[in-house]
Amino acid sequence: MSIASAAAVKSAEQTGAAVRPWLRRGRRRPRFGRNLTAIVFIVIWIFPVYWMVDTAFKPQSEQDTTTPQFIPTHATLQNFTAAFHQSGFLQNLRNSLLVVLVAVAFAMIISLFASAALARWRFRGRSTMMVVVLVVQMLPPTALLIPQFLIFNKVGLTGTYTGLILAYVALVLPLSIWILRGFFVMIPVEVEEAAIMDGASTWRLLRSILFPLVAPGVVATSIFAFVSAWNDYIYAYTFMKSSSHYTLPIWLVSFSSPFGGTNYGGQMAASVLFTIPVVVFFVIIQRNRVTGLSAGAVKG
């Protein structure tokens, strides 16, 4: 192959062609092999997602078949209505939204202040704080779960929404500080200097200059925080005692048909509902993050 390409170079030089021959060769080479590999990869990787959606729309009679039915012939929404009517769904959905949104809002406000300080000021102990923020995220899940459970149990916070909200704040805060700080760092220092020259106070500088400039970053960060808390299973499973206080992930795992055995149609329908907001958010992030970062730089 290399000899061939060398020959191609030579012939191209002789004919005086300006085109790069090895690129042309690449174009001529059939893409069949790589496309086939890509298709195999796509089929394997999308199959679990496809199977979830497929099962969600199949009636029970088409789910439990000795030969799997790959395309539902009688697509139905009955699994979704079954999931909705299953006891606890709406209650636990409400719990999930309440706990996660309050925790994210709380964490956002706190991390907005903290990341501004860590990105825009130099002071003693700053780098230590940055390292602490990073290292606590590496801890094994049980290292925080066990002591938080014991402390919350002592002060009567286990089984309450407040306890779970606090646990989620602790879960997402380091991550939020870290990501938001990246957005603050992107703001050119000249913007800040100009504001100070014009006599802006520190609070004025934060409120009118820095905070508005990181607004896209706050959106992106809160989505990351939302997804982390929304996906949590083990905190809610450990802390919450009664099923009326469960969050959606626990409901999803314990979902089973009233006749015993798992009703996979209903469970897959519920999984679809649980997944949709996250997929939407991932798509938003993909756009928002990029534009947010570049917009912040250009505006400066």
Binding site: N35, A38, W51, W121, R126, M129, P141, L173, W178
Partner: protein
């Protein structure tokens, strides 16, 4: 939950790191701004101390006590010195869990890196439309919440009507596997979990590596090609070499993430059968919240943390050294 935490931080680190952009920071321009960091950091400081640092201290304290189910109600505990540690280190389950965690982490990191880097290379070779489809598929696998993914996995591998067993039976190699219960066998259960974790991990690795891969200087590759280097040689000496920092970072984060693996194991095998798939995380949880030997659980958790810190010590050291520039 830890999954997304660590991965997004990694994404951030990867996005910021290569640019090496360090704008000058604002310094004390006005007298009042001198104290600004203090009040800006106070709320976060309170939360971090109260909900993270104090709990870690309490975990260490608990590991030196006989905290159990009774203590949860009475609050009575007595110090037992290093007893929890000696009994943990003396138990065979601890060692088998440690061994399992170590090799399973290696298998997960290896598997997801090979596939992830492979997919990033594949994306380079594909046409625009095909690449778009691959990106879309990766986003779906990435966005799927772990709890939903584990439920889908349980359904895919369900004995009786599971589609995977049906597919394997159709191959006529392994005989009739229709009623094979994957979670009743240590190795099959682990393989099942391995597939799930690799499926979830590949998108992040592929995207990160792809971002770095598209930065590799094509002139260098072209030059090597003119000099007659084989495609394999070009890949190893030029491409993999330029990707080394990225792959190293992704590998380190995968180690942390896979070492801390919990939900996937818990929701697929619960550490069974007979604790044979109980990784350190699972074993800690079982000790603390199923048999309610909380003191023992705390000791295992402390030991696990130390192990992880040693494993990622290289990374932390680099962080500390880079701390001034962060």
């Amino acid at each position: 939950m830890e999954t997304s935490t660590v991965t997004t931080v990694a994404a951030e680190a990867v996005a910021v790191a290569p640019k090496g952009r360090r704008p000058r920071r604002a310094r004390r321009y006005t007298p009042q701004s001198r104290f600004a960091p203090a009040w800006l950091l106070t709320p976060a400081g309170i939360i971090v101390i109260a909900l993270i640092l104090v709990p870690i201290g309490f975990l260490i304290y608990t590991s030196f006590t006989n905290y159990d189910q009774r203590s949860l109600f009475t609050g009575e505990v007595s110090g037992v010195g290093f007893h929890q540690y000696t009994s943990t280190l003396g138990s065979s389950q601890f060692w088998s869990s440690t061994l399992l965690t170590l090799w399973f982490t290696a298998a997960l990191v290896g598997g997801s890196l090979v596939v992830g880097v492979g997919v990033s290379e594949l994306m380079m070779l594909l046409g625009k439309r095909m690449r778009y489809v691959v990106t879309l598929v990766l986003i779906f696998a990435w966005a799927m919440p772990t709890v939903a993914a584990t439920q889908v996995w349980n359904w895919l591998f369900e004995p009786g009507f599971g589609v995977v067993n049906w597919l394997l039976t159709q191959l006529h190699i392994f005989g009739n596997l229709t009623n094979e219960a994957w979670n009743n066998n240590k190795w099959l259960a682990l393989f099942n979990i391995w597939l799930l974790v690799v499926w979830q991990a590949v998108p992040f690795i592929a995207f990160t590596t792809y971002a770095a891969r598209s930065q590799v200087d094509t002139a260098m590759i072209e030059a090597a090609r003119i000099d007659g280097a084989s495609e394999l040689r070009i890949y190893v000496s030029i491409i993999l070499n330029s990707l080394r920092p990225t792959i190293l970072l992704v590998a380190l984060l995968s180690v942390i993430w896979d070492f801390n693996l919990f939900n996937q194991v818990w929701l697929i095998s619960q550490g069974g059968p007979n604790n044979s798939t109980a990784t350190l995380g699972i074993w800690t949880y079982l000790s603390a919240f199923t048999s309610f030997q909380i003191g023992t659980g705390a000791a295992i958790s402390v030991l696990t943390t130390i192990m992880l810190l040693v494993l990622s010590g290289f990374y932390i050291r680099r962080l500390l050294r880079a701390g001034e520039d962060l």
